[in-house]
């Protein structure tokens, strides 16, 4: 199977989400990121590699250090997807709402007719 590299995969893993949280406000080098985790530095490197391949992290060389910088723009793919589905359901509920109103006003009319008999 082809290995997917997209934002959905990037945030599928809790460690990767935590890395994103860490670098959200300030760029950090690999060591500072690795310190936060119990897993090996290699494992953290792999997560960072995946995040860069998914476009959520950019690595910038500063002197001898390499810093990870967060790029949140890609995450809009996720919120867009969710938003689309939410809108779909919202519209269904709108239709349900007008249907229920219609059914009830019909019901009331019928009741009135029955009462008049």
């Amino acid at each position: 199977m082809e290995i997917r590299r997209d934002v959905f995969q990037a945030i599928a893993d809790p460690t990767r989400r935590e890395i994103m949280d860490l670098v959200a406000h300030r760029s950090l080098n690999l060591n500072s990121i690795a310190e936060h985790f119990d897993v090996s530095r290699q494992a953290v490197s792999l997560h960072i590699k995946i995040l860069t391949e998914c476009g959520l992290l950019v690595i910038k060389q500063q002197g001898r250090e390499r810093y990870c910088e967060a790029k949140f723009r890609q995450l809009h793919e996720v919120s867009d997807w969710i938003e689309k589905h939410r809108v779909l359901w919202d519209k269904r509920l709108d239709r349900m709402d007008s249907l229920l109103n219609e059914l009830q006003s019909k019901g009331k009319k019928r009741n009135r007719l029955n009462k008049n008999k």
Partner: protein, 160 residues
């Protein structure tokens, strides 16, 4: 953590009537299809283990007016309280289809667990909540992210 999409609405209608919009095929047809779509088919087999077939049909100009079928396989029904079912894309006979074969993106989840709950908040007022979960595929993975908090948080960061 796998919660994915939740919508809640309060209807000015008694819970019995709101419930019926899911169980009466003629009523299902009135709300299931997206805008500009109709729902020509609603074969409702409303019982645990039962399988309903619903469809959406787009305008001629959209895709030749093709009818797209889904099935709802009921897992749990608690009258006037809860309906739980699995949504799958299907053919006209209600046989489950692979979403990719139907032209959906590979992210499209094959099984979408759907939970509908009903609560009478006062007489003639019903709160209904629909939650969709994706149990398979890429979507399931991303759904684990604790969506509401993370997205809000990350969006806030992005905007600032």
């Amino acid at each position: 953590m796998e919660k994915q999409i939740t919508v809640t609405r309060v209807f000015n209608a008694p819970v019995e009537l709101v419930w019926k919009t899911w169980t009466d095929p003629e009523l299902v047809k009135r709300w299931w299809g997206p805008d500009m779509f109709t729902c020509p088919t609603a074969k409702i087999d409303f019982r645990v283990g039962g399988k309903s077939i619903v469809s959406m049909k787009g305008p001629e100009a959209f895709d030749g007016g093709k009818e797209h079928f889904s099935i709802w396989s009921y897992r749990e029904i608690i009258p006037l309280k809860k309906i739980e079912f699995i949504q799958n894309l299907a053919d006209a006979e209600g046989n489950k289809m692979n979403p990719v074969a139907l032209g959906m993106p590979p992210d499209f989840p094959e099984d979408v667990r759907t939970l509908v709950t009903f609560k009478e908040i006062e007489k003639g007022k019903t709160e209904m909540t629909v939650t969709e979960f994706a149990d398979m595929g890429q979507m399931a993975k991303f759904a684990q992210m604790g969506l509401d908090q993370s997205i809000a948080k990350m969006d806030a960061i992005f905007v600032s």
